[in-house]
Amino acid sequence: MSSDTIKWHYAIDDERLGPVSEAELAALAEAGTITSDTLVWRSSMPGWQALSTAPGAPKGPWSKPATPPPLTPPPMSPIAQKGAMSTPVAARPNYAVQELTLYALNRPSHILPLPSEPVVDNYGKRESKVAHHVHLYPAFLKRAGLAQGKELLEADESSCFYHPQFAATNMCSHSGRFICDLCSTEFNGEVISLQALSDIKAKGKVSKLDDTRKLWDDIALALLLVPFFAPIAIGICLWKWKQGPTSIVRKTRSRYVVAMVIGLIEILLLAWVFTGGLDL
């Protein structure tokens, strides 16, 4: 029997429809009118069956091979990234090999062979075309400490505030919450949660966590190159004075003082010129 002569019946909302040919049934499936769960029947079948299991039924979109997941994992949140580190070491066969990799400085895609001494000169010329000086420290051989979440074994065990499925191993000294190893980090000699660290950074009161700073004292000094901007420069100095030195490596507000003095002199000179002091 050819596929065109087979007549299929199908049911939507308990209403029997058809008969249709196999090609028409396939078209209905492609259009989404019927799905893999739609009941179908043909003369040789003992009873109604779902389309996906019916023998000889046309293949619909559900029968297409599943697309394999991407090789590159999607971006993860910081906590999820740390969680991903809990994969056991045994699951990463070449972990040690990957760690002991030394890339050339001039060509970061070129790998230099590992030197036999911690300090070597004229090294890696063959691989990178340039002789490197290499000085290695013990951290080069140190494996990454893998944080792991410990599964809760007993019902009365304290669980992590952020990962209820894991047992708490520490207490955040900032918030007092119970946290697991995945959420713990060390800051100023205390164990705190990553969330607490993020809160401290957001408040901006700890210079150790700053990653950028605008140097308003330098901006004020640069503005003084154009005397007409002197009032703006003085305004910036007064506005930012309370914040103290703008760079984390500066100890004093001397630049503010210099900028204000020069700015005042420039304003006085401008005033003198425009009030006819300079007889042009």
Binding site: P93, N94, A96, V97, E99, L100, L102, Y103, L105, N106, P108, L114, P115, S116, E117, P118, S128, V130, A131, H132, H133, V134, H135, L136, Y137, P138, A139, F140, L141, A144, S207, K208, D210, D211, T212, R213, K214, L215, D218, I219, A222, P245, S247, I248, V249, R250, K251
Partner: protein, 166 residues
Amino acid sequence: MSDADQYKLAARGGGSFERQKLYFGDDHLLVIDGSTTERYRRLYYKDIQGLLWHPTAMSVIVQLLLVLIMLFSVMGIASGRDAPNWGGLFVFVPCAVIFAIMLYLGRSCAVGVKTRVQLVRLPAIGNIRKARKFERQLTERVEAVQGTLTSEALQAAQNATQSAVT
């Protein structure tokens, strides 16, 4: 003690379009990029895996240019009809001073600090003399935290790596 007190200037400099300052902190090397907006990166001594540097051709090119300029200025000085044209000294002397300083500082180089996750370039260190001094100072601090890496430990790790590959 303020946070600024812990920092000791290690190097400052950079290329035409980048300024960088390096400071040694109590437990980290502070890398500051930028001029009016500073961007901070902290490389903790416990995480620093190595220091790499290699010579670059920049100083050789500049020195060749300086030699050429000095040659032309000498020719200019000698080109005076009745007496030497001493005006050429205004070009010769600054070039000679720069040339001498460059000879003293040594060849230009590129420097990078390797950590587990990155290779941080340090354009603030532009010549081999500075690089050697920086290496000495950094090694002192890193080894105070990490200890000293021995050849035996490195060999053992290499052997372990090779056996893992095979």
